[in-house]
Amino acid sequence: MLKKIVKSSEFVTFTIIVLLSLIIGIINPAFFSLATVFDVLRASIVVSIMAFGLLLVIIAGGIDISFVAFAALASYGTHMFLLSRGYNGGIFLYYAIACVIGLGAGLLSGLIVTRFNLPIFDVSLAMMTMWYGFIRFFIGSTKNFKLPEGAVGYYSRFLVTVRDPFVGEAGLHFSILYVLIIGVLIHCLLKYTTLGRGIYAMGGNREVAIRSGFNIKGTLLVVFGILGVLSAFAGVTHSFLSRHFEPTLFMTQNLDVIAAVILGGASVTGGKGSVLGTFMGVILIQLINRAMVLTGITVEWQQLMIGLVLAFFISIPAIRDLINKRASRAVEVPEEI
């Protein structure tokens, strides 16, 4: 059992997180504080929610880059619509409308993929470009800082707060609960439903999945629907946390999310990945981002660092394979027979 845990890719991610934390902490002891934990978690909320949606697509054997555009479309679109209606209530309506938009955008991608039997990546490339264009052409092209009254103060709704000697008062934002709830739901979907096992099955061997009688098209539609809804949810959450709405939200961040999912142990070829791993992948990336600030290394190094960690991480299975091969192939060559 223990051996199994040690062998898992989640464990590798976890080890990297621990090592990295120790290194940062040694260089800058201020790192070891609840404030840092809260800060890293806060930065992980939005990315995690999107990553959970993307995880499903990656397990199913595809790569999507358009989910960031779903987030932008749903959050900015909802905001501009409600603003024009003079809406001044709470954020619930924002989530409701945005999720419907996200669902629609996700299902559209899903329909194109299943209907014409196209590679997911190709479709998402087209959809990403299309939706960002759509937003700027039909909805608006400038950032908007006007928030409805019901949502003012949302960004500082904390679950708990602590006093920190370095940063003053620090709090854990309550939207971390969203991550928890969505994470548990996705985990259960993947682990305990026939649908979820079908996602793994089609990622592992699509032909056999079809032959076994899995409804591949239906499964993909559900996967895209969830991706759309979660992206929209993340988009709205991010906009309220940062107190503004923008038409090009996340435009350059899709690769970071993909990197997080892969650091979490998912395989780009499909069939592998977990919610827990994905969450740790997100944490790891945020940690590397913080590390630079806290250790005084310039921002240019961030990308280099993430790239290096990623390169190391994706090589692990290959290295492990090599070691196994050596061990199993090598025979004792005796001096004399």
């Binding site: 682990k191 305990y192 026939t194 592992g204 061997n205």
Partner: protein, 503 residues
Amino acid sequence: MTNEILRVENVSKAFAGVKALDQVSLTVQEGEILCLVGENGSGKSTMIKIISGVYHPDQGDIIINGHSYKQLTPIESMREGVQVIYQDFSLFPNLSVAENLVINEQLSSGRRLVNWKETYKTAERGLEEIHVSIPLDAMVSELSTADRQLIAVTKAILAEARIIIMDEPTTALTQKEIQSLFEVINNLKAKGISTIFVSHKLNEVTEIADRTVIFRNGRKVMDQDAKNLDIKTMEFYMTGHELDLDNSQLAQPDQQAAPLLEVEKLGLRGKFKDVSFQLRPGEVLGITGLLGSGRTELALALFGETPADSGTIRVEGREVTIRSIQDAMRNRIGYVPEDRILEGLFLQQTISDNIIVRIIDQMVNKIHLIRAGASKKVSDEWIGRLEVKTPSGELPAKSLSGGNQQRLVLAKWLASDPRILILNSPTVGVDVGSKASIHELIRNLASQGMGILLISDDIPELMQTCNRLILMRRGRTFGVFDREDITEEQLNQEMVADRVFSI
């Protein structure tokens, strides 16, 4: 008193006017092990697909458990208890053993939720049925081919199979694994489950069959009790003529000629050591030994894939360093890999592209575009010379049957005109007829002055094609024999002696 469980009556099936099956009848009794034998294209696969409902016959009836079908569907076939184990086993590599075993039942029951406890219980019961133990939580990707096969068999049993059809089940198994598979099959027999065993390994057929049926060109040419049926008779029915296995046509290489390849004290740490030999033009030199004796590693070292770390290699008298595959090719050493599908071919690409891939540089015009005419000429030539059975060189390589894919791999290497050709188990998974023609081809190539290293553990094959034999044991050359000085029995004993010795 036996019960007939399956009866196929006067079934015919044609594809685009070509008769794949012509008025074939077949019966299977309860608990019977029926071996279905035939060369590539003899109609075996078509028959399997008709029994499993994938194809509908143009004529004839299928009667399973007393129910007669004109148009059997895959679902009906499964419901009647027919389960086919294809060569790819239809498993999910990324899922656990338990899940793979139960996933079909999970789907057909229409349950939306997964009960893991139940899954493990059912999986365990399944494995107990055939008396094997494989860890239920292991990923299928971590299992050996033999274990995967057992999983596939167990899956069939859990689906309440009454007839299990195995398509070439022993291709990738070791001798020991084959024996345990046979045990499982006999086990099924005791439970009253019938097996249709499709194979062209005739020694296995004689071992396992209750009854043997032989197909040739879409017709059933033999159907009889397997007792008193010898391999020679089967070969005769399969090919329709006596196979010419006469050894005397083996050309003797010129003993005076300078060696093409000289290897001296070649070694690779942990793999092999102090290997020395010479290969003359026109000579076929066999290298044999058990799995793990270093024979494959030696071949890979000569081909530069895993270069040797000590010793010298001389090609045509010149000392060369072979540190990469490119080095080997520059010295005109060709290698035909063991696993034709994994290592040798671009399955999606056309047959002719596969043939010319190694010599593509010679096929281009001044501005480096490929001259279509030249490439077609070369590929057609090799398709003809190696008798690759295909209507056109423009079809993808995956459209070929196993034996023809092996020929295609040969064609690919021969097109680059090597002086030294290393063949690694060239006839594994190839039927008798094709095997004989590959052997003939090897002899022909040698007589044209090529030097050939044939790595194989198929002793009759070695005896029929090689001038000399090197026996390897645990990384060292154990003996060099002229073919005239050793018999099949002696060679067999030498190999088995090693097995006893190493235990």
